[in-house]
């Protein structure tokens, strides 16, 4: 029993928690931007698969790690453009289109993988991002290694939260994004194109989702595997609701969630097979549903979420 509590005070546990949180933070921020602009993006799971592959493959072909991140982001933005085009000017069902994008992005990725690496039985490895220790800050007990001995992509994840929060609440673009998610006709009345803002937001959000995918192949692991996203995209959608569409709260949600995930892995080692391992693997998904139920009652959705906007209509 004491062992189970001691875990919480080890640095390695918090290092793992922050690492596990990183891809979720990118994905959650990406989804948050889309939804803030009024577009639900269920393409997230597939976009993460595509980002994981393109980022990794760029590096495998001899590209720089940051070039890989950039390529992943561009891949995500392209799928975002497709989702945006289908759902914003054409006004198609965001649910159906999103699922379609997920199926398309993941199957296209697997197809491409097989074309580019036809004879490969075990996936080739790359040199992933190395942890970078921030001097001095590293020496803070427990929190130091957890927060300041991570790979650059993790630092980028935290920077992203700050940037997203700043842009959404402190810049005209952010005000416009939030407004098209709440009251698009008011935005149009000011002579700003709802279509342009929404598509732009979906592209930016999808780029972040793809970086979240790339984190897995370029920072957490060093290779690309089928099914490696494994529901992280859907969990990010739950985290957006949990965070009430606010970047700061969503960040806290992602860290809590990741801490729980890191904790259950360690708990599994302590209990040593008494409880089936599947129970532990289920917990993240169960926890997401619980979080949705707890928060949904008082959650205030962006009012225009999932409602297509037509110029001149009210």
């Amino acid at each position: 029993m004491t062992e189970a509590i001691e875990i919480l005070f080890t640095a390695s546990f918090w290092v793992a928690a922050i690492r596990i949180a990183s891809p979720l933070i990118f994905a959650t921020m990406g989804e948050l931007i889309c939804e803030r602009a009024g577009v639900l993006n269920l393409g997230i799971e597939g976009i993460m698969v595509a980002g994981a592959f393109t980022g990794w493959f760029t590096v495998y072909m001899g590209g720089d790690l940051w070039t890989g991140v950039f390529v992943a982001a561009m891949t995500g933005a392209m799928f975002g453009l497709l989702h945006g085009f289908l759902t914003v000017p054409l006004g198609l069902s965001q649910h159906v289109t999103g699922i379609g994008i997920t199926l398309l992005a993941s199957s296209l990725t697997y197809f491409t993988y097989r074309i580019l690496l036809p004879e490969v039985s075990s996936p080739p490895k790359i040199e992933p991002f190395e942890p970078f220790a921030v001097p001095l800050l590293l020496d803070i007990p427990v929190l130091g290694p957890a927060l300041f001995n991570q790979t650059p992509l993790t630092y980028l994840a935290y920077l992203t939260v700050a940037v997203v929060a700043f842009v959404l609440y402190r810049t005209p673009v952010g005000v416009a994004v939030r407004a098209v998610g709440e009251n698009p006709s008011a935005v149009e009345a000011q002579g700003i194109s709802v279509t342009a803002i929404r598509i732009g937001a979906v592209m930016a959000g999808s780029a972040l989702m793809a970086i979240g995918g790339a984190f897995l192949t370029m920072s957490a692991f060093n290779s690309f595997f089928f099914e490696m996203i494994n529901g992280r995209g859907w969990i990010a959608i739950a985290l957006v609701v949990f965070g009430s569409w606010r970047p700061g709260k969503a960040l806290i949600g992602a860290i809590l969630f990741a801490a729980f995930d890191a904790y259950q892995i360690r708990l599994q080692q302590i209990t040593g097979g008494v409880i089936p391992y599947q129970i532990f693997l289920m917990m993240p998904f169960v926890l997401s549903i619980v979080a949705l139920v707890v928060v949904a009652r008082r959650a205030t959705y962006p009012k225009a979420l999932m409602i297509p906007y037509q110029k001149g209509e009210r």
Binding site: L86, L92, I101, L103, S107, Q278, I289, V293, A296
Partner: protein
């Protein structure tokens, strides 16, 4: 650009837009095939031959279509009432679990009694599996898309746990698989020595029953009303929440039948690879069928043909069989676009 509703959809538009959607899918996949270094004409010929070019191919396609009819119906019913059930995969596996629980000897009855009993329990289980998300949606306002998606992961882990635990076949040489269902619980083959089984007939009958429910009953009318405009339906005195719950029960029950038919008709036992994503492909099937239950049968056979044909093609043409998934996903996106363009006119300004 803006969209204007067409006063009436012309007959030409009804034919031309879906054809354009198919053409776009063909062009896109041709490009991929060429990138893979093969000739599109050869590849499409091989896909067609593999799907429908022989009696063996046709039987294989219909066999593969069977679970897709069930999951397609499940999605069509739910989407009609705007209940976004993305969890047909979970309901399928729970149906398969109940088939194994009852069909491996725990209950001994002649086929005429055992099979209806299993069907009843399977449908009930699938229905209850979707009841949870439906109640969360109607009572707590929790979006059912995320809950049903997350349930897919939970259920597959649950099944994995059962297959390594209570449902594990002691004679399975350590593999996570269940015992085989007893003879009385098996669905008969339709053609001696071929894989096509009675589940296909059951799927067709289900499609007809669902069609009758949707077109001829009060529930069907209410479902459409709720799907069209829930606020207006509520204003008109339709018990919206109750309709959503009933829709969920029907949808979950249908999806679970896919699991029953795969175990009792085809595989004989339960393994973790029972479904290569039939629950998700059911979404494509339902959309291609324009949510029409009878159209689901045709769409399921079409989609199954692509998969079966692509498998055969990839063995001889050296193009990854993932091309089938790409084609199916692309046809979903092009078809929903085509449906929209049938109903609206695009005005450029």
């Amino acid at each position: 650009m803006r969209l204007e509703p067409r006063a009436a959809t012309s007959a030409t538009a009804t034919v031309l837009w879906p054809l354009a959607a198919i053409a776009a899918t063909v062009v896109f996949s041709s490009v991929l095939v060429m990138i893979a270094g093969a000739s599109p004409i050869t590849v499409f010929y091989l896909v067609f031959k593999g799907a429908a070019g022989s009696q063996f191919a046709l039987v294989e396609t219909l066999t593969r279509a069977t679970p897709l009819i069930f999951t397609g119906l499940a999605v069509a019913v739910a989407f009609r009432a705007r209940l976004w059930n993305i969890g047909a995969e979970a309901q399928l596996y729970l149906g398969a679990v109940m088939t194994v629980v009852l069909g491996t000897g725990a209950v001994t009855l002649p086929s005429a009694g055992l099979i209806p009993l299993i069907i009843f329990v399977v449908m009930l289980t699938g229905a209850l599996a979707l009841l949870g998300p439906a109640i969360l949606k109607t009572r707590f306002g929790v979006d059912e898309v995320v809950t049903t998606l997350l349930l897919n992961f939970i259920v597959i882990l649950f099944v994995s746990m059962l297959l390594e635990g209570v449902l594990k076949d002691p004679m399975g040489l350590g593999w996570p698989q269940s015992r085989r269902v007893i003879e009385e619980a098996q669905l008969p083959r339709l053609i001696q020595g071929k894989r096509l089984h009675f589940g296909f007939i059951l799927a067709i009958v289900s499609a007809i029953i669902v069609w009758v429910i949707m077109k001829k009953t009060v529930l069907g009318y209410e479902m459409r009303a709720v799907g069209h405009n829930a606020e207006a339906a509520r204003f008109a005195g339709i018990p919206v929440n109750r309709v959503i719950v009933k829709t969920a029960l029907l949808s979950g029950g249908l999806a679970a039948l896919a699991g029953f038919s795969e175990v009792a008709g085809l595989k004989g036992n339960l393994t973790l690879d029972l479904s290569p994503g039939y629950g998700y492909t059911g979404i494509v099937v339902a959309m291609l069928a324009l949510l029409n239950p009878l159209g689901v049968v045709a769409a399921a056979i079409f989609v199954a043909g692509i998969f079966v044909g692509a498998d055969a093609m990839s063995r001889s043409a050296n193009v990854p069989s993932y091309i089938a998934d790409v084609m199916v996903a692309t046809s979903l996106l092009t078809m929903v676009t085509a449906i929209m363009l049938m109903r609206y006119r695009v005005r450029w300004r």
